[in-house]
Symmetry: C2
Subunit: 262 residues, 2 copies
Amino acid sequence: MDVLMTGANGTVGTAIADGLDRGFATLDAAGEADYHADVADYEAIRPAFEGRDAVVHLAGYASTDATWEEALTNNVVGTANVLRAADDAGVDRVVFASSNHVVGMYEADHAPELYEPGYDLLIDHTDPIRPDSHYGASKACGEAFGRQYTENHGIRFLALRIGTVNDPGYDHPYGDAELGVERGEWERGSEAYDRQVARMKGTWLSRRDCASLVERCLSADRRFEVLYGVSDNERRWFDIDHARAAVGYDPRDDGEEWDEPP
Amino acid sequence: MDVLMTGANGTVGTAIADGLDRGFATLDAAGEADYHADVADYEAIRPAFEGRDAVVHLAGYASTDATWEEALTNNVVGTANVLRAADDAGVDRVVFASSNHVVGMYEADHAPELYEPGYDLLIDHTDPIRPDSHYGASKACGEAFGRQYTENHGIRFLALRIGTVNDPGYDHPYGDAELGVERGEWERGSEAYDRQVARMKGTWLSRRDCASLVERCLSADRRFEVLYGVSDNERRWFDIDHARAAVGYDPRDDGEEWDEPP
């Protein structure tokens, strides 16, 4: 199976490549890649799609601090271009890195109590979107485009509303907080640190769970799905039963396994 | 109440203006308008929003034959610009002309049986989007942007998934088909003609029902709604009970009242 990965050099891209035995053709605007191109430029990315069996589309501006222009160019136009290029090249499967920020306002309404074990909230794919940012809205657009290409162009489209994936060396719920300590942003054991860790124990998607979820999406016999990408975290507020049923997602990790930073 | 209407010269815009006692500040890229500007150009439209109490946003490319670029520029970027301009100007209410084509694939799956009286299908605001075209997907994006501006910028956003509004002189379910006859596209009484009329009896939104629905949306105490804009047609497959409950929509027309072209 010949798979193109956009945004291959990012945190999620390397998690997928590191965790799977398969190879990928890679496209990225920066760093080493088979194709150096910006997804906002249709003509530049089009050649990379020729002859592929599937696309894993990760490229984009991946932060809630995106301005509207950044989200529009990189995520809305970028994803439109990727779908168009896939369609034009006859590629009939796209796995799309969406985001938990498509529904981030549920979290905002319930935080910080939501971060504690046993809090009673579970968001699934049937809940209405509630973007928390331009970034979240831009990912919602990507999902809408995907739906359209499924309905009218025969492209299988699986959107993963990813929680939090960390870089190698920080592949645990303390990753973000420990990075904050290293950068002098907060002290270990502070309220901000503890809150961040508690959140990450809910939203963490381990690198291996990320890779295995994408692998399942590359072979699943499904036309269109919106799936939450988090590990089997005790504190999660995102449903993963639908991902289990739809594509056989079988996560191995739980943020609760980490009592303290490694 | 000082209301700006974009796309004021179009079929829907004139229906609203003709049907209401209130005045509007008008913006349109063509024809007579207070502001001549293209919604794809943020700087050009921004001045029109100053001091308004609400915006009725109709401007866009309004057909399922839109190419992806046409839908992206006019509808996706255009609606993003309108919301941004409203937010920047402190306008806290936007009524948005969305479209039945956001969920058009339900119709496609059930046509033509769906067009007959008594067919058992009713789509409401809780059903997943199923765009039938780039146009439909672009309107879904507009709804997602609106949700984001409601959640994070305090803008009330009411999206109307409008069925079919006809020009004056053709304000009945035979309008499209009669126009087709005039243009020599089909014969009165042909299968295509009859099918078009049957469809229009389901999707028709009379000009006065359109105007009254928008009027209700301009005063309703709701933060975010997706409402179907069709008259109380016996053959409709779009729910209007939610619009009745949410904003007090009180349609006066039913496509079934027309037994033959006037």
